[in-house]
């Protein structure tokens, strides 16, 4: 355990990090077209929801979380209270808590600012690549992790934001009658399906969807939070009754 950062003279580790940076960029290259397209759709959806160009750019560049952004848009359009939107975004983002539980121990030696910054870039793509390259068995050894992490982080950020900014700038050239905003809902479906990992999760998805429709008339979109709680409860009960498949 070293209390502070080792001096920068360690050129050996720099070389390893450069190598793993390039390795990460190459490993993730196959995902870029999909990321660009998903960014494009989210950028268009923000503008079609009625935000100005500056608001849309600020949202994508700062928030950097596609499914939370797309989930927030219909709520913003119906003037849902901001705290309900905040709570919804937190729940949609809960998967990142699970991701960071798998990844953050590798960077626990960094000062707090470094950890905050690493956390901000701990996206879906990071979960798809980092743990398989650096499993928990590599916890004591930091070699190459920084390079690999930032290789995934920067290429994912550039692909996503490139697509989103293009979508924001193009959105007004697309006729209203095409209803491209619906592409945002379709993208959320494609995010939801892989998250439905077993029968318990499927039960949760079905119950949450049914409750959300049945309770759509409740004030302040409380039906949404009710639906999420019911869905989670049913999924947990399902595992309780039938623990063997989990």
């Amino acid at each position: 355990m070293t209390p502070s950062q080792p001096p920068a003279a360690a050129t050996g580790t720099d070389a390893i990090d450069r190598q793993t940076y390039l390795e990460a960029v190459r490993a993730s290259a196959g995902t870029w077209p999909g990321i660009v397209a998903w960014g494009l759709v989210s950028g268009m959806a923000i503008v079609k929801a009625g935000l100005t160009i500056w608001q849309a750019l600020a949202m994508t560049l700062l928030v950097f979380a596609g499914s939370a952004q797309l989930s927030a848009l219909p709520l913003m359009m119906s003037h849902t209270p901001v705290l309900v939107i905040f709570a919804t975004a937190l729940v949609v983002n809960l998967r990142f808590v699970i991701f960071s539980a798998a990844i953050s121990p590798h960077f626990s030696h960094l000062p707090w600012r470094g950890r905050l910054w690493h956390g901000y870039f701990c996206s879906d793509m990071m979960m798809a690549f980092f743990p398989q390259r650096f499993p928990f068995s590599t916890l004591g050894n930091h070699a190459g992790k920084k390079g690999f992490y930032w290789g995934i982080a920067t290429s994912n950020w550039v692909a996503w934001q490139g697509g989103a900014v293009a979508g924001i700038l193009l959105a007004n050239r697309i006729p209203e009658s095409w209803q491209v905003g619906f592409a945002g809902t379709l993208a959320l479906l494609a995010v939801m399906i892989p998250l439905t990992i077993n029968r318990a999760a499927l039960a949760g998805v079905l119950v949450a969807g049914a409750v959300a429709v049945a309770a759509a008339g409740l004030p302040f979109r409380m039906g949404l939070l009710l639906a999420v709680i019911c869905g989670m409860a049913v999924a947990m009960l399902f595992d309780h009754w039938e623990p063997d498949h989990a």
Binding site: P33, G34, A37, V41, L51, M59, L62, V63, A65, A68, S71, A72, M76, H79, V82, L83, I85, F86, A89, V92, N93, L94, R95, F96, V97, I98, F99, S100, A101, S104, P105, S108, R115, G119, Y120, F121, C122, F182, A183, T185, L186, L188, L189, A190, I193, P194, I197, A201, G204, V205, L206, A208, G209, A212, V213, A216, L224, V228, G231, A246
Partner: protein, 112 residues
Amino acid sequence: MPELSQEAIYVWLTIGLLLMATVISRSALFLMGRSLKISPTLMHALRYAPAAALSAIVAPDLFMQAGQTDVSLVNPKLVAGIAASLFFLWTRHMLSTIVVGMLVFSMMRAAI
């Protein structure tokens, strides 16, 4: 200084809170490090929350039209959503799923 409208304040406030939601969910465990222990039961429950939340967002858009529940095969969004889901289960490809869903949606709307 131009005065901010109510609408603009609402949008900027929401953007700020969404940024907070990103930082809290992604960086909390990075910041707390070893001092925070999440119980296995809570971790288990957390796995099911995002899919349930996304379903609660998507379902009203697919199953309702103008505030009324519409579970029928003349509901363009519902049919497009089912088609897109089946296509995604088959191909696991997001971009083409969106294209197929939008095509079905547009054809349904043109036909009705």
